[in-house]
């Protein structure tokens, strides 16, 4: 979709090029992240694509057409543009801001109104409330959402995003990233995303281009950047904690042990206790009759207990969903002193279990063969 061939930018009066012979290809419907230390030329490279910065030599093609042969105004109207400081027009309402490009393209009023409302709903802002607000009446997170909506207004196939979430507090940034990825799943734009934050790059990018002094050092999928850094610079840029960063890339469902050993609340305590002793288990998950997670029992509570397991079950307050990434799962596991975290689906049904063993095995480190406090957790389903 976007192809750069030997793209070079030399500013007049400067001895070294700001962008030096960059060649890369961004496939249709994917997010490519440009990353690097400040002054590495990542923003310049991005601005060369919509000709806000003219190219010195080389060729940039968008959708198979050389951008230098297109009318710059037409070109830019077909490319969504989001910048760090948002750049909403302060004198226009949210509606007029979002409608900027459709108006330039001469859409009729009702088409514009429908599109604005549709986009506001897509980014999770109530059109009735926000349509007629002015930018000064918005929070930073809301303004940046509107900035993204404005860039998508005319449904451009290509979007350029220059540190779109850079000026936003870390908590809101995570929320916006998640929301944006969700939207991207639906709309499948071809996106160039500039950032200086490697965690953001790993989270957002299907491919990452690492730049230094205007040169492209490595252009690869995040996984490769972390596991096979091309040189020392890449290694130090992605950080010594790159094994941990891989946790961002993986979902709970990739690492969890499915169908973990468990019992039901109606099972007799004595039988379960015997089984746990026989299998060297100290804790056991408990579900109800429909396999919904109720909590867990420990061996100590079961000793001498006559009756059903359900009477001594302890609630399990911290769970994850299979879609969450492993970093969040790890942080929950560490916050829960049993050394495991249980994955449940939307209906609270038991989906799987993560312990240090399963978690560390995917990250590629050595692990405790016995899996922590829980003893030898096995994948055997409900106790017969």
């Amino acid at each position: 979709m976007i192809t750069l061939e030997h793209a070079t930018k030399v500013y007049p009066g400067s001895s070294s090029p700001a962008v030096d012979d960059v060649t890369l290809h961004v496939p249709e419907g994917e997010i490519s992240v440009f990353i690097g230390p400040s002054g590495c030329g990542k923003t310049t490279l991005m601005r060369m694509i919509n000709r806000l910065t003219p190219i010195s030599s080389g060729v940039i093609e968008v959708g198979g057409k050389n951008v230098m042969e297109l009318d710059p105004i037409e070109l830019r109207r077909g490319i969504g543009y989001v910048i760090q400081q948002v750049g909403l027009f302060p004198h226009m309402t949210v509606r007029d801001n979002v409608a900027t490009v459709p108006k330039l393209l001469g859409w009729n009023k009702s088409a514009i109104d429908n599109r604005v409302d549709e986009l506001l709903e897509l980014i999770g802002l109530d059109p009735g409330v926000f349509r007629s607000r002015y930018p000064r009446e918005l929070s930073g997170g809301q303004a940046q959402r509107i900035g993204v909506a404005r860039a998508m207004a005319a449904d451009p196939p290509v979007m350029l995003m220059d540190e779109p979430f850079g000026a936003i507090d870390p908590i809101t940034r995570e929320v916006l990233q998640d929301e944006f990825l969700k939207i991207q799943w639906q709309v499948k734009k071809t996106i160039i995303f500039v950032t200086h934050d490697i965690s953001e790059a790993i989270k957002m990018g299907q491919k990452i281009a690492l730049l230094k002094d205007g040169q492209l050092i490595q252009y690869d999928v995040p996984e490769k950047l972390l596991t096979a850094p091309r040189n020392e610079f890449v290694k130090s840029f992605v950080g010594t904690d790159r094994a941990l960063k891989r946790l961002n890339l993986l979902r709970v469902s990739d690492a969890m042990m499915t169908n973990p050993v468990h019992c039901q609340a109606a099972d007799p305590s004595e039988k379960i206790m015997e089984y746990m002793i026989g299998n060297d288990l100290q804790f056991l998950l408990v579900t109800d009759g429909e396999e919904r997670l109720m909590g867990y029992v420990n061996l100590y509570d079961l000793r001498g207990h006559r009756g059903k397991v359900g009477d001594v079950v302890r609630p399990m307050t911290i769970t994850v969903s299979p879609e969450q990434n492993l970093k969040e799962a790890l942080s929950r596991m560490l916050g829960f002193d049993l050394g495991i975290v249980v994955a449940v689906d939307e209906d609270q049904r038991l989906a799987g279990i993560l312990n240090s063993k399963t978690l560390f095995s995917v990250v590629g480190d050595t692990y405790d063969e016995r899996g922590g406090h829980w003893g030898n957790v096995t994948s055997k389903g409900r106790i017969p």
Partner: protein
């Protein structure tokens, strides 16, 4: 919204204050018999007031039509290098007293209304040009980059982003220019331009306070009224998105 209410309140406040003051002055004037002349010559006063308004509005309109486009031109890329030079030149011109400007204009253009309008226009240009340049220069670079990046042509950028955002400062310049011009226009009587200066200077020359006040009071009232009208115009033209509560 609060800002709007506060702004209109302040307009009403000044109007009321002006009315009270003029009433008090009127009472005092009546006591001293100063209103006699005004009562006897309402037609003359009306004619001179209309002349005065004509002078101010004509010169003001010409100054706006020349000043705003000049200011815009000075912020365009190809003219930017002349910006400092022209602003400094106009700044120097502004230091020349208004009476001297009238006198100089008279030397070349003779006497009459046209000369007066010319001189007033020249004198009004600087605040308008300077505020237009400052207003456009103050528009957020980020908003401009966003506009450019979304495919606005330079003209669209000017009309849809730069001017609306600069409008408050531009209007302030115009307002200042025109209100000052109401006072300066009184001087145009000296070169045969007519206006309320006729009554003021004749009154001074004859040491007739009543005669002088019949010129001075309407001049002051005109300045206050124009200032108030501009306040309304600002509220009408400037986007609520640009008005802050502070």
């Amino acid at each position: 919204m609060n800002a709007n209410v506060a702004r209109s309140n302040s307009g009403i406040f000044w109007m009321i204050l002006a009315l009270i003051l003029s009433f008090m002055v009127g009472v005092a004037a009546e006591n001293k018999g100063l209103l006699q002349f005004a009562r006897e010559h309402p037609g003359d006063i009306r004619m001179l007031l209309l002349q005065h308004i004509q002078l101010v509005l004509t010169a003001g309109a010409v100054a706006v039509c020349m000043g705003v486009p000049t200011g815009i031109l000075l912020t365009r890329g190809f003219m930017r290098r002349y910006k400092e030079f022209l602003l400094n030149l106009l700044g120097i011109c502004q230091t020349v007293p208004s009476l001297a400007v009238l006198a100089l204009a008279m030397t070349y253009l003779g006497i009459g209304k046209k000369t007066a309008i010319f001189a007033l226009t020249v004198y009004a240009l600087l605040p308008i040009i300077r505020n237009t340049v400052a207003g456009i220069g103050g528009v957020s670079e980020v908003a401009l980059d966003a506009g450019r990046g979304m495919g606005m042509t330079p003209l669209q950028l000017l009309l849809k982003v730069e001017l609306p955002n600069a409008m408050y400062i531009i209007l302030t310049g115009i307002r200042m220019s025109i209100v000052i011009m109401v006072g300066t226009a009184a001087l145009s009587f000296k070169i045969g331009g007519g206006g309320l200066g006729d009554l003021i200077f004749t009154g001074i020359a004859m040491v007739d306070t009543g005669y002088m006040l019949t010129g001075a009071v309407p001049t002051a009232a005109l300045a206050i009224t124009l200032n108030w009208l501009f306040g309304l115009l600002e509220k009408w033209i400037i986007s609520p998105g640009l008005i802050y509560d502070t």
